[in-house]
């Protein structure tokens, strides 16, 4: 294979294992990969090269997507450490957070029914700052190697993201 598909995304892009990656390196490497392996560069090449180019760029795109997105990147960092949140029970048992979830859901339902743009905008800003709080939380816990606790922060982030997506889809 032309690139090492067994390397994790951080290795592939030569980045440090962290939420705060150097985005300049990420962008530059991504463009370099694309400029060399995108199918556009292989329109007149053999089928084998075309297939390789397709596989490589798909892989690069997946890696880029994960590394660009704080939530996906956080999950991926934990996965490398052996904590696969995707295949885990994602229920949150913290009762005060459950209350908070219910309240936010109600607020979101109300905004959906009102269809007011400004309200919606404000709500997105609020969701973002709440999410940011747990993102920072995650960082501290991850760096202190408290991976169980870090998983918990991600699950909470996930809740805000799902509320955001629902609102985007139905609002």
């Amino acid at each position: 294979m032309a690139i090492d598909f067994n390397q994790n995304f951080f290795e592939l892009f030569e980045l440090d294992y962290s939420v705060d990656i150097n985005s300049e390196i990420l962008e530059k490497k991504y463009l370099n990969f694309q400029k060399n392996f995108h199918p556009d560069k292989f329109v007149n090449a053999s089928d084998y090269e075309k297939r390789m180019s397709l596989q490589i760029t798909s892989h690069i795109n997946e890696a880029y997507k994960v590394l660009k997105n704080d939530y996906l990147k956080s999950m991926y960092l934990l996965k490398i450490k052996g904590y696969d949140i995707d295949n885990q029970n994602s229920t949150i048992s913290d009762p005060s957070f459950l209350m908070h979830q219910m309240e936010l859901r109600e607020e979101s339902d109300e905004i959906m029914s009102k269809k007011n743009k400004n309200l919606k905008k404000d709500f997105f800003i609020k969701l973002n700052s709440l999410k940011k709080k747990f993102q920072d939380d995650f960082k501290i816990k991850y760096e202190s190697e408290l991976f169980e606790e870090a998983s918990d922060s991600i699950k909470k982030m996930k809740f805000y993201i799902s509320i955001e997506n629902d609102l985007k889809r139905n609002g």
Partner: protein
């Protein structure tokens, strides 16, 4: 950078047989062809000197005529066929579906009863492309070697696939499908900008499309799209007709109405130049009545429609999380954007002068021709387009719900895999329903295909693990493969496309069309094989010269030489199959070599981006 390719496709092998790479704007109302000639874009003209080839296909008993409208009983005429391509009747709006003849199709692709034949929109579209191909090849006195065809940014998998199928039926090799707004941005040379957000406002005869592109260091992304498939310049003409009728307080019969409608088009065009026109009512048999129509009258008439386009524009902005001030460039596309009031309204809305120097009818075709030139390898310009899929792709799960596998706006090419298991002991087959769309319920989305996975090794329920791999290529077209992971057995997939046609049908159509063609297919195929063989030999020789001895040991080199010499011999054999086999063999023994070259290339890239550069 094709590793094993050095021949320049733009340069012909045989000086008498010129080869061209063209861009094709396959439009709803009109189609255009453009190419880069001596470094400049050139838009082809038809016999009448027009650059617009009407997308109209007329069937007579024994012939097909493209570009002219026949309204007689001996003809069956299709217009706006693009609205129907890649769709079945169920998901067509009533405004998009129109049949000039009997048709069949309910759950599947529509088939029109055209005399003795049953024709799909794919075949009808292929007639347009065939016509464009013929005219181009006659005008240029050469062959079209490859083309770039533009499609609306929101076209889904089925529509893209159908467009490609139409192209292969017409004998065109598609290098890439290109999104229309992206083509417009390329035409304006915006690709050389470092960072930019571009809004493309495309108002044609019958459709309105708006797209936001994000350009970053030569990489284009489509951020969001929107539009109205039944809003366009034709609506302005109807408004003028209604206006005249109400001013005169008359109701015209359909024939006079049609005459007035054609006249309204002229009035509209005239008002782009002058402030006021006298309406000649003699045309509809009113001799002694006078009526004037000013630009202001016109602006007032179309104001609602123009506001509607701006409302859609702000929705698309919101969808991309952007505001008006984030937009760096606005491009006007489509003949209707010549209307001064539209230019003015767009300028006011975005607080910025829109780009409109290039003829708005031609701009998409010109962009496509630039891209074709780049893909052919003959251009020095470094341009890379990165596109996204416009709609999420998912599979049906329990309760008729959609599980998203690849979300919308994912950069393509992209792939994703999903594991499934059996729920019965000894189960050997499984059915997968692939869906495209953003809604939760299967019935609200579009069905793309049904796959039946067969030959699953019989095991206890839940023991078999079927890994489905979804791959979307650079044209936005999906393919699926399945593997049983516990035994690593590749299971077979039977595809039942919900629309469109499958490969064997295409093959049959191709065969049928070849049977009817008068060219000597056999000798053409042999020639193609020989050219391909020569190309591969040339490429491998030049690659070996650069790094053959660095990357390969003696034994490996010997294998490649042997395969190459065998191919060389076969070139004179006159047997197409043997040449193709020899090419395949050479490519196969060179696979390791190609991989190593790619690898050494990666290392070069890594060296190129030293961490120090950033500090």
């Amino acid at each position: 950078m094709a590793l094993l390719q050095i021949s320049e496709p733009g340069k012909s092998q045989d000086p008498h047989q010129k080869k061209y790479y063209v861009g094709i704007d396959l439009g709803t109302t009109n189609s255009l062809v453009a190419l880069i000639s001596n470094g400049f874009p050139r838009v082809l003209k038809n016999k009448e000197g027009s650059e617009l080839f009407p997308s109209i296909v007329s069937y007579k008993k024994d012939s097909v005529i493209v570009g002219e409208y026949f309204n007689d009983s001996a003809s069956i005429t299709f217009s706006s066929i693009k609205r129907m391509i890649g769709k079945n009747i169920k998901d067509l709006n009533s405004s998009d579906f129109y049949s000039p003849c009997e048709f069949i199709g309910d759950d599947s692709i529509v088939k029109f009863k055209v005399f003795k034949n049953l024709l799909t929109p794919i075949e009808i579209s292929s007639e347009i492309l065939k016509h464009l191909k013929n005219i181009t090849e006659q005008t240029l006195m050469g062959d079209i070697e490859g083309c770039v065809i533009t499609v609306p940014a929101y076209f889904d998998d089925a529509q893209r696939q159908a467009t490609k199928d139409a192209a292969s039926l017409s004998g065109l090799k598609v290098l890439r499908l290109l999104n229309e707004p992206t083509a417009a941005a390329i035409a304006y040379g915006l690709a050389s900008k470092k960072i930019s957000k571009i809004m493309v406002y495309d108002l044609g005869g019958g459709t309105f499309d708006i797209s936001i592109l994000d350009l970053n260091d030569g990489v284009f992304k489509v951020l969001s799209t929107g539009g109205d498939s039944s809003l366009g310049g034709d609506d302005f003409d109807y408004l003028i007709v209604d206006y005249i009728q109400s001013k005169l307080d008359i109701e015209l019969d359909s024939e006079k109405k049609y005459i007035l409608y054609l006249y309204a088009k002229k009035i509209k065009v005239a008002l782009s130049e002058t402030e006021i026109v006298d309406i000649e009512l003699e045309k509809i048999g009113l001799e002694n009545t006078k009526l004037t129509f000013s630009r202001d009258d016109f602006n007032l008439l179309i104001n609602d429609l123009v506001q509607k386009t701006l409302k859609i524009s702000s929705e698309v902005l919101l969808d991309a999380n952007l505001s008006v001030n984030d937009i760096n460039e606005i491009i006007l596309v489509g003949g209707s954007t010549r209307t001064p009031f539209i230019k003015y309204s767009v300028k006011n809305f975005f607080n910025k002068e829109p780009l409109s120097d290039i003829n708005p009818d031609n701009v998409v075709a010109i962009g496509a021709s630039i891209q074709a030139d780049i893909l052919s390898g003959s251009s020095k310009e470094e341009l890379l387009l990165l596109d996204v899929i416009p709609l999420s792709l998912g599979v049906e799960t329990m309760g008729e719900l959609v599980e998203v596998i690849i979300p919308r706006n994912s950069t393509i090419p992209t792939s994703s895999s999903k594991e499934y298991t059996t729920f019965k002991d000894g189960q050997t087959a499984m059915s997968i329903h692939v869906i495209q769309g953003e809604r939760d319920l299967v019935s609200d989305c579009r069905s793309l295909a049904k796959f039946i996975i067969k030959d699953i090794p019989p095991m206890l329920a839940g023991a078999a693990r079927i890994k489905l791999e979804f791959q979307i290529d650079a044209d936005g077209i999906l393919s699926v493969s399945a593997t049983e992971t516990t035994t690593n057995k590749v299971t077979s997939i039977e595809v039942k496309p919900s629309y469109g046609i499958n490969d064997s049908q295409i093959e049959k159509m191709l065969k049928d069309s070849f049977d009817n063609a008068h060219t000597d297919i056999k000798s053409r195929h042999l020639n193609e094989a020989i050219v391909e063989g020569k190309r591969v030999i040339l490429s491998i020789n030049s690659a070996l010269k650069i790094d053959g001895s660095d990357l390969l040991n003696e034994k490996e080199l010997k294998y490649i030489y042997k395969a190459r010499d065998e191919l060389e011999e076969m070139l004179n054999s006159g047997e197409k199959e043997s040449i193709i086999d020899a090419v395949k063999n050479l490519e196969k023994v060179s696979e390791t070599y190609v991989s190593r070259r790619m690898n050494s290339n990666i290392q070069k890239i890594m060296k190129g981006t030293d961490i120090k550069e950033f500090n």
